[in-house]
């Protein structure tokens, strides 16, 4: 069979060519991640091939994994587009004995050395809490991602769930925007026409939705700085520099920083260890996070996804401040 000994692939104990995939490149977040990959690989002493972009097509991701494997990489950092639609790719890697670290999305099954991410559900819940803190009752809009994507689905579900549980007086309205700026802007626009009394907006991707949301609020004369009694509470996910700037300017209340740098860094970190043949156990790590066994055999290094508000926006540890 084609199944080689993992040790053989590991070669000289944690060095050699490694590959990394990208799910898409047209979002500021993934663009930043893409920038960090070679940098972090170097830090770990790994030689990363240029990243390959699946361009939102799960089949392409599988092909990408195959292509990287056939180029003889000794380790892979994979960014699944979907928790399930990556398993076939993981199997290929397993057959070749190449260790894999999954970033951002935890695969449903298959062999991965480690999952590195901050939970998508946590983004929704944290955003819900940030809004709940500021809006006790009334209408809140969530500008959703693509419901056919795992990120959009998990964030939407977590936000809905959290609002229902913890803030029953808040009514959630929804805009399905499929990660598209124009859909967000026009959808919000229509909604605001019918509901000028909206108190808050949750944007599932600040990188895509922040500008269109502000633009829609401006058009409806609902755009007021934080602190103004008429201010519409705005909370987003991502933590790109523009969001941090908006927080400093008093436009945005909070964002949940999705650590692009840490994704790249710990992706490479665990990969190097796995290539050296190390195995891991649940428990605390050396970088303020914990490893959890999320499902049998799948370990996840749950990186902190800090909520950024006016109070900590200048924190140098935030990746958005380091670009």
């Amino acid at each position: 069979s084609t199944k080689d000994k993992p040790a053989a692939a590991a070669g000289a104990g944690g060095t050699g060519k490694v590959g990394a995939t990208l799910p898409l490149l047209t979002s500021p977040f993934w663009q930043a991640y893409n920038k960090y990959v070679p940098q972090m690989a170097k830090e770990q002493g790994l030689d990363a091939l240029p990243t390959v972009n699946a361009d939102s097509d799960p089949a392409k991701l599988i092909t990408d994994i195959g292509t990287l494997l056939s180029q003889g990489v000794k380790g892979l950092v994979v960014t699944p587009l979907d928790s399930a639609a990556v398993v076939a790719g993981l199997k290929q890697a397993e057959n070749k004995g190449v260790p894999v670290v999954a970033v951002d999305v935890a695969p449903e099954s298959g062999k991965v050395a480690m999952v590195v991410r901050a939970d998508n559900k946590a983004y929704g819940t944290k955003a819900c809490d940030e809004i709940g803190k500021r809006v006790k009752s009334g209408k809140v809009v969530q500008v959703m991602g693509d419901l056919a994507s795992v990120n959009g689905r998990d964030r939407s579900a977590a936000f809905r769930e959290c609002m229902k549980q913890k803030y029953p007086d808040v009514k959630v309205l929804e805009v399905a925007a499929e990660w598209k700026a124009d859909k967000a802007s026009s959808g919000l626009d229509s909604l605001l026409t019918a509901n000028p009394d909206v108190k808050g907006v949750y944007m599932q991707a600040g990188g895509v939705y922040l500008a269109p949301t502000e633009q829609a609020l401006k058009r409806k004369n609902l755009f007021f700085p934080v602190g103004d009694p008429k201010h519409v509470v705005l909370v987003s996910n991502d933590g790109i520099p523009q969001e941090l700037a908006a927080i400093r300017n008093g436009e945005l209340d909070a964002t949940v920083s999705q650590p692009a740098d840490a994704y790249a860094k710990y992706g490479m970190y665990w990969l190097k260890k796995a290539m050296a043949g190390e195995t891991f156990k649940p428990g605390p790590t050396d970088h303020d996070s914990t490893i959890v066994e999320i499902s049998p055999g799948i370990l996840e290094d749950q990186l902190p996804a800090p909520v950024v508000t006016k109070d900590n926006v200048d924190d140098k540890a935030l990746w958005g401040n380091n670009l």
Binding site: L25, T26, S27, P28, W30, Q31, N34, K35, M144, L147, S156, L173, E174, V175, A176, K180, A181, D182, A184, S185, S186, G187, D189, S190, L191, T193, A194, G207, V208, L210, A211, P212, E214, Q215, K218, R219, Q242
Partner: protein
């Protein structure tokens, strides 16, 4: 000339008038569907049929309608241009990058805003020129050339911006959609003016008429002394310019310039044009029709959002309504759609 034998029917002006009216009706075949949408909208929600919401529908439609205008012209000549969706992104991106500082992901040239704005339609024109060259001169297939071009342009935009979204110092570039006059954004006024100008041109000007002839039968148009190649080529250039301006309106509407600006919009552009009666075979259709197509798509979207249809089902219902609108307009228009 003997006219003794003229057909009895030709004597009846009433019939003639009727035919003319039915031609008009066909252009406006979508009106009944549009009316239905508005009536339902009015019943479902008090806000749908308000001035505010109409403004909001129009503002949202401005960018799309400019691209639809360009695409309609190309379709009338019997060609295709899929690359307009990428032109929408790359033309304003280049314009903006020439202006904004390198720190905000510009090229570092820091041209004055006015030049950057002027560059936008020029980039659009250049893209159209290249398309026209490949299609009209080298006689490559328009569909597939512009599909490849779509990819090249999108790729170039991602490459030059590194996939970054441009946010900073874009004021000059968002002004088109943020400045208002009589309650409506300038982008809406611009689109309206361009629709009127091009609409009149198509109806009243010889070049406009020749677009129809070219799309209807290239050989006959050529034999009638129309410079078929030159005009087809020019139409690609004009479409590029219109898409570039449409892209600028889009940027203004969303307030930022993403690397995927316009991505996936081309099917919507075709939908609007074709549902509005512009034929994919060329030679048939009007801008009034195309405009009703844009408005129908946009108002259905607005209606569904105001009605807070569950997000999971939004797409299915949207598609279903368009299908029903099509059937209504088929029977209102009376003619098979081709």
């Amino acid at each position: 000339m003997t006219d003794l034998m003229s057909d009895p029917q030709t004597a009846l002006p009433a019939v003639r008038a009727k035919r003319r009216k039915s031609a008009w009706l066909r252009e406006l075949a979508l009106l009944p569907a549009l009316v239905v949408v508005f009536v339902i909208g009015g019943l479902i929600s008090d806000t749908f049929f308000t001035f505010d919401n109409i403004i909001s529908i129009l503002s949202a439609a401005a960018a799309l309608s400019l691209v639809v205008l360009g695409e309609s012209l190309v379709l009338l000549t019997g060609k295709f241009d899929l690359s307009l969706e990428s032109t929408m992104g790359i033309a304003p991106a280049i314009g903006a990058m020439l202006v904004i500082p390198a720190a905000s992901s510009g090229f570092g040239t820091q041209w004055p805003s006015v030049l950057g704005l002027v560059a936008i339609p020029l980039v659009g024109a250049l893209i159209g020129f290249v398309n026209g060259f490949l299609i009209v001169k080298l006689k490559l297939n328009a569909f597939i050339v512009t599909l490849a071009m779509l990819t090249v342009l999108r790729g170039t935009q991602i490459g030059t911006t590194n996939g970054k979204t441009l946010f900073d110092q874009l004021d000059a570039f968002t002004a088109l959609a943020t400045t208002t006059f009589a309650g409506l954004p300038m982008s809406v006024w611009l689109a309206a003016v361009l629709f009127v100008v091009f609409g009149l041109g198509l109806r009243y000007h010889r070049v406009g008429r020749s677009l129809y002839a070219i799309g209807g039968n290239r050989e006959a148009a050529r034999a009638a002394g129309i410079r078929v190649d030159r005009i087809s080529w020019a139409v690609f250039v004009v479409a590029g310019v219109l898409a570039a301006i449409g892209g600028l309106a889009y940027t203004g509407y969303v307030g930022a310039l993403g690397a995927d600006q316009g991505d996936g919009l081309i099917l919507q552009v075709f939908a609007a044009a074709v549902i509005g009666g512009v034929s994919l075979d060329g030679g048939r259709g009007t801008l009034v029709g195309a405009l009703t197509g844009v408005l129908l798509l946009q108002s259905v979207d607005s209606l569904l959002r105001i009605a807070q249809v569950p997000a999971e089902w939004l797409k299915a219902i949207y598609g279903g309504i368009i299908l029903i609108a099509l059937i209504i307009s088929r029977y209102a228009g009376g003619k098979p759609q081709t």
